[in-house]
């Protein structure tokens, strides 16, 4: 009797688990197809397909918004968006595992080489701007702006700890605590390109892949200085003070206007999307998705905390995409 009970118990448990899995999925699936049938009536052309998007976690919110909106129009197309980071995304792109790769910096020489070796032709599109924001603690009342040279002096490693007084006369004799995105991120790569210029970043700097850690760090330390994407500053305006940057033509604070106009230089950066030419030419869904993305990237990126490109940029991007179709 006992043994029978054991078997029964085990069998019931496992079947319940399995049935639970399948049953749940099935009913959900039915709901889906019902709603897609509804939508099908409204749309003229319903596409089918799968689109894999991966890459920069900075671009992720834009792509998530695009995918979300797109799947409402084309429920037959399954779009997935990953966040493996700019470099990780290109690796998957070269392995042929993704159709679209997001990047928060332009593609690197060696990544181009890897793609060439894999025989993947690609096209680069800009989707939005991001203003890398240099921030200090709210209680920091001495920093009114920083020049690019000062930034460089602060961030490049010179073997010793730097004090605010080393940077400019009259600033306090306190050690500067530095917070930077991790070296795997496109944000770091961009900062490296325009500020560090391949010099070693200060070895005392705290590096983190999670920008929220940087926000916490700068919020909690009066002598802290950090930088990250504009969206993270915009969300934490109450706790952080943004530093206007002087790129040679007077201090400019990052705002939607100064980033879009390019006035906030050199720290405003474009965000990129790379797409496989073959996928656009052969897969109607990928082409349609890219078209939808370019048409909506402006509004959607504003909505998730980035700055849209000027309208003409999107127009020329559309033409570029049409060119790939032929």
């Amino acid at each position: 009797m006992r043994k029978v009970k054991f078997y029964a118990g085990a069998a019931v448990m496992s079947t319940a688990l399995l049935l639970g899995a399948c049953g749940g999925a099935e009913t959900e699936g039915n709901n889906n197809s019902a709603s897609s049938a509804e939508n099908a009536g409204e749309e003229n052309q319903q596409l089918q397909g799968e689109i894999q998007v991966d890459g920069s976690s900075t671009v992720f919110p834009i792509m998530e918004a695009v995918a979300e909106e797109y799947m409402m129009e084309q429920p037959g197309v399954n779009v997935t968006v990953g966040q493996s980071g700019t470099g990780g995304g290109f690796e998957k792109f070269a392995a042929g595992e993704t159709h679209v790769s997001n990047a928060s910096r332009p593609i690197k020489e060696e990544e181009v080489k890897a793609l060439e070796e894999a025989g993947i032709d690609f096209t680069e599109f800009e989707v939005a701007y991001d203003g890398l924001s240099v921030v200090v603690n709210k209680e920091n009342d001495w920093v009114d702006h920083l020049t690019v040279d000062e930034l460089k002096k602060i961030w490049v490693d010179n073997g010793e700890t730097k004090k605010w007084s080393d940077i400019r006369e009259g600033w306090p004799d306190e050690e500067i605590k530095l917070y930077s995105p991790g070296t795997d991120s496109g944000t770091y790569d961009y900062f490296n390109e325009v500020i560090l210029e391949d010099a070693q970043i200060d070895k005392n700097a705290v590096l983190s892949e999670d920008d929220n850690v940087l926000v916490q760090g700068v919020t909690g330390d009066k002598n802290a200085l950090g930088y990250f994407g504009y969206a993270y500053y915009a969300e934490n305006k109450d706790n952080l003070k943004v530093v206007p940057i002087d790129g040679g033509e007077g201090p400019v604070e990052p705002t939607n206007e100064t980033v879009e106009s390019g006035e906030y230089s050199p720290l405003s950066r474009p965000l990129f999307v790379y797409v496989s030419n073959k996928a656009v030419a052969e897969d109607e869904a990928v082409y349609d998705y890219m078209k939808f993305m370019i048409e909506n990237a402006g509004t959607l990126s504003e909505e998730v905390g980035y700055v849209s490109l000027p309208e003409e940029e999107y127009q020329s991007a559309l033409e570029k995409l049409e060119g790939l179709k032929k």
Partner: protein
Amino acid sequence: MESAQKTVHTDEVVKKIPTRLVKNNIYKTVFLLATVVTSLVLIVLLARIVSQGAPYLSWDFFQNFASRRPEQAGIKAAIIGTIWMMAVVIPVSLILGVGTAIYLEEYAKRNRFTSFIQMNISNLAGVPSVVFGLLGLTIFVRMFFFGNSVLAAGLTMSLLILPVIIVAAQEAIRAVPNELREASYGLGASKWQTVLRVVLPSALAGILTGSILAFSRAIGETAPLVVIGIPAFVAFLPTSVFDQFTALPMQIYNWTSRPQEEFHFLAAAGIIVLLVILILMNSVAIWIRNRFEKKY
């Protein structure tokens, strides 16, 4: 009387009683503090997560896909994806794990080779989960062309928890007294009949307890999923094991890294759901142990 006084020096004892009592109290306080500190950390963590996440727990939260708008975002794809993944993990890891344990305990001869296997299994249990992720990426995603599908993730997770299941099942099988086997042989049963009808039923409670604890590890792991490239945004449900999916830990990980605070609250809500699932599974494990475990 005299000899008793010699072994127990009453005066000495009386003299030492106060210091002993003080020592006693000191250690008591130290251990109490240790308990309080650990529970406090846990309580603070839980209180924070519940206070942040609870307002976001609604029916919609379970019914909606991920979204850029926090108020519309939900965990439908993540929770169904996790269930799909477990539908691969549970049979694969149970069959392979219990099979290995039966072989090692019942059939294999004790020689260098089996002790070598044994040692490797124990070592594997301590390998960081990222390493299993890399293994999964190389073998299942790339070599077998499974892509970042339910199957690839499920097999990777199965490998991750296999050592734990094997060791648990071995312990359970070893706990079955030899007399039972011998009695079975004595009645003319073959080895396989003995294993199937005597050993396994007696060991089942132990095997299930260990396995369920291992399954809860598979549900909570994030690192292997990140490495094999499970996407964070998926707004459809898998229809087969070859489909792409996302899982609960991936969704939580994604939300915590977002700039907007509302997403952090959503992550907290996701963590509550994950915690409830884990607590439920662990309770089942404890229940099975208490209800079915036999003492010999």
